[in-house]
Subunit: 353 residues, 4 copies
């Protein structure tokens, strides 16, 4: 008996990834799809402009798109909405008793909403018990970070744990799929770089410090470190590449860093279906990681670190890559849901009275 | 009567740019072309794989390629050779009395070889009088920087002059034409990023400090600042984009920075044909500069700065863009030659006895 | 004294090309700009998302966008509107006495509207005298063909004149700029081919036969030939490449074909500023024409033919390339206007009473 | 017990695909790798520049590369060599008793060498018994067609069977991986089309007719039809797209064509591991097939046909797409080998005395 789940924003790029990743999922079954009013009532296969390179599962293509309302929706909702719509819609589902596993930025920085990467700050999930929705109906909102933050934070967490982090410089080269569909116009990006993504630098900076922060007295205290981000869009379909420099609190050798990444396995033993065996892979080839070659490591859920070398300004520099619509979006939310299951918090019957 | 010049490495990408830029040049006339032994003796039009979007000038196409030896070569040589070959070849021409205006990295860091951007450190040209070749035959070598350094240094120089620079972070997104032809394989860069360019970070770091350094007692003292570079290759034909953070010695407002760039006109009054009216252009649109739209500013000779905003780690961050095979290579050498003319140092009759 | 002209649809991709091509035009001066209601009243520089690699002329950037109505508009209008809007708007301007030089498909196939390429069927312009608008107010509509038809027809016309054409096969590889901005989504075209462009094959087939047709008794009799088109979109910014096979009525050698193209100069002596010296250039290199290298021949107004070789099904096959937003759109309309001037039909004072 | 096989040309793009496709193959086991002399003696992982997006299997990476000589090689050899080298090398292996399953063009048109697509002309395999090598040592050479021919022929075969084919027009848009690595330079193909691939049109024309031909008295009589090909390279990583027009001998409706493709299943019942369930898939969406979305149908082994519509010159036109390095190269050879196994011709013990 798999848990029935619903997808809000099922026709968008991240919605499509949810469907792809859930197709043979052992725990979850897609039972409900919602999208904009324009699509409501249509067959999913007719409403969606499917852009993935695996076909739409036939069962899903035949499903009817429901109105985006809690009535009739399952109790577990994956939400892939634009921030504006999420801000209005997600609270309705939480208030109606749903577990809303959100990929949107709308509530990521709200004090009582967990912003979580399972390998990084699973303990922050405790925050959800503070939510008014939770107290009233059992429902809640849990969020995963921006697609540019996830790869960075996966790379930084093992360093923070072992050596402490003082400051972070990051310059991104982000894929077009991060902007959804139709998203980036071809005339803007073919043979080009766009050195700007709206609100992205702010999110990347804030979310990184919050994810690496400590939960104390029901409050997340962001990591006390300096961070600056440059965000750029490049002509890549999938996979965000990031040039990172970092200053550590304690001295570490190159081998220390590599060991920190390679031994990082905080979910070992939990058997979460979507969790990669090694969340941070390292690669020695001098010109890697590259999005085309490395984004699918760990079935798209691993971050890959390469080019580890001394930095003449901070301590170390390296490149990190992760798949922006798998690890950086749908896969991130899915892993959050799996973690909630393993903590006994997703099961509707576990809801407090 | 235009000065006859020769081009060493005339069939490569930079050699082609030299020919394109010199086609209607008021001071110089292409009179001699040399390339590898394989091409020697052929018509230029038959030997070259012309990759520019303007046609090969007919007169040039009909010229015969000479052996790469000083015999019969004109006294002014533009050199567009790979470093290994330059290391062997350029001294022969200098020893034979030629002014070698080189785009190669071979001698850039040699103490008595000027590494010059005319707007930045024209005074470093004095070094050439120290060269043994100069003393013996009148010949010399003058170099321009790496294509990734030129845009950065043009952006930094006005800041260094007015506010002083303490530290620099730069992450590049470099065009494929920087690697010559055939250069980067399409399978390596289509839909991809390669986070590595051999020796590029080293050159970018070293050359930047040397260019911003002071000439004292016939020695260049590099700028006393910290610099760290991340160099990446992206799917762009022409134009290097760089994300830069900088720490200044003296406080400056955003307006101060913009004024420094906009008022930067060190060559004003010299009337050098290839010098752009404004070496550093600024742009306010939030998503600029972009290589496809901005690389041809100042006929490919201006650097464009945009996205000027505070940096939470250093003081300011911005994006700078410049055309890598015009301002970053052939145009750079050409401007060096024009400066030498205006200083009376290119004219063979000016050579000391 | 230059003729004042207006541009309808001034903010789109073709509107921008009009502004770029008209910047230093000896005969015409941009005096009026109109766009959608949303833009009306704004400074052009604020309303447009300029996508060309030369800057917006400052005078134009400062102009205010007018409502898209004939009141206050100059008597010569370049129209770059979507077909639906053109269908409603262009007649209003023609009825008000304007010469509407249109790039839209709306009226191309209307019996009394000239569909003209100056080098191909200038005599079809006589049709405009049949227009009701012309009779009432002096105004009229003249159109140029679809961007995919122009290059093909330029290549076919010299063959039709000398050898007659019986059948035509064409398969296109069209640039994204043909779809306007934002137009083609990057996720649809990066590393991809889209084998479909709405209505394009129909237009390419119909327009080609009409352009090569004969005007008799105020009616265009389309060329009596068979034509079939396959239209594809590829990852190219500018320049449509077309693979063509053709069956001729009379035997011709390869040299005959080349001579037909090279000697094709129907506008010789007219001194139209935008007319290329050689409307059809031929190129012998085995792997040309290519959009990146050849689209700017004749300042973007020449079609380039290469790979001329026997066809085992029809008689000959070749590749033709032309710039889709210059020769295929704005430049086409501009050349039509110049031809009208030279025929004394654009001058408002020449309008019949 | 899996059959041990060797790979000649193991480090190239097709060699890499062989390794990828054979990783979990139920019948074959990679036991021997050979490449150029330069690589011989090295670990495969050190010698190869791996360009696929799945990692090198560890067992393979650790294997030592053998000299390219029959001594010590297994009796079944997959060959992925350039034509020049294949011409010299493959006969050596055949003479030594090896079954050489070749992807090279060297012997495809030799009278006694089968050129085979299992779904199309399996009976041509009988030719191998005519080979002198076969008679002497039991060895032989079997070839698969050029990557541009396979998709076309898969689409044509069902039509030829049911309706007969009179003439064929094909214009290709081919991926860069077809040229191997480094292959196509990025400066040649980014934002560009190259309307030429050396010898490709000849191969596509000849091989298509031979594949559709009849074997009679130990000779292949090519299909008696006219065919003309235009071959173009476009900026796509993998997947050849082809615009096709075809004239049939007998009238057929659109439904007849679709049925012919959908019911085409000549290998049904053979259970070959690499054979796709449906060799020719059809797709109704108006803008498909597209390489990015459809090349992996049937695990990269299906050809996809779409845009079926009447042709005003021949009878029907359509677009066909297939993966050029899977169905068009390594997968094609692998399927040939599987067919040989199922016919009892690959097993070395079946070799005549």
């Amino acid at each position: 008996m798999r848990q029935k789940i619903g997808i809000l924003g099922a026709t968008g790029m991240v919605g499509q990834r949810f469907i792809q990743l859930l197709e043979h999922h052992p725990w979850f079954e897609v039972a409900w799809l919602a999208a904009s009013d324009r699509s409501s009532g249509k067959r999913y296969g007719d409403a969606v402009r499917w852009k993935l390179d695996t076909p739409i599962p036939e069962r899903i293509a035949a499903m009817e798109i429901s109105p985006a309302q809690p009535e009739g929706a399952p109790q577990v909702i994956f939400a892939a909405l634009d921030a504006d719509i999420a801000r209005e819609m997600e609270p309705k589902f939480a208030a109606a008793g749903c577990a809303v596993i959100s990929n949107s930025s709308a509530f990521r920085m709200q004090a009582d909403v967990p912003l979580v990467i399972p390998e990084v700050n699973a303990d922050h999930l405790a925050l959800l018990e503070q939510q008014e929705w939770r107290k009233q109906s059992g429902g809640y909102i849990v969020t995963n970070p921006n697609c540019s933050a996830i790869g960075l934070v996966l790379a930084l967490k093992p360093l923070e744990e072992r050596f402490g982090i003082e400051s972070i410089f990051v310059s991104t080269m982000q894929a077009v799929s991060g902007a959804g569909y139709p998203g980036v116009a071809s005339l803007d990006i073919m043979g080009n770089v766009v050195p700007f993504i709206k609100n992205e630098e702010e999110k990347l900076q804030e979310e990184t410090l919050r994810l690496l922060g400590k939960l104390q007295s029901n409050l997340v205290h962001p990591l006390d470190a300096k961070i600056t981000a440059h965000c750029n869009r490049v002509a890549v379909e999938d996979g965000h590449t990031e040039s990172v420099s970092v200053k550590l609190k304690r001295k570490a050798t190159r081998e220390d860093l590599l060991a920190a990444w390679q031994e990082f396995a905080p979910l070992a033993g939990r058997d979460l279906p979507t969790a990669p065996a090694q969340p941070v892979e390292t690669i020695e080839a001098v010109d890697r990681p590259q999005p085309r070659l490395d984004r699918m490591r760990g079935a798209g859920m691993a971050a890959t670190v390469g080019r580890v070398r001394p930095c003449s300004l901070l301590d170390w520099k390296f490149t990190v890559l992760s798949h922006n619509t798998i690890r950086g979006a749908a896969g991130a939310a899915l892993l959050n849901a799996e973690l909630l299951v393993s903590l006994g918090k997703l099961n509707p019957s576990a809801v407090p009275a």
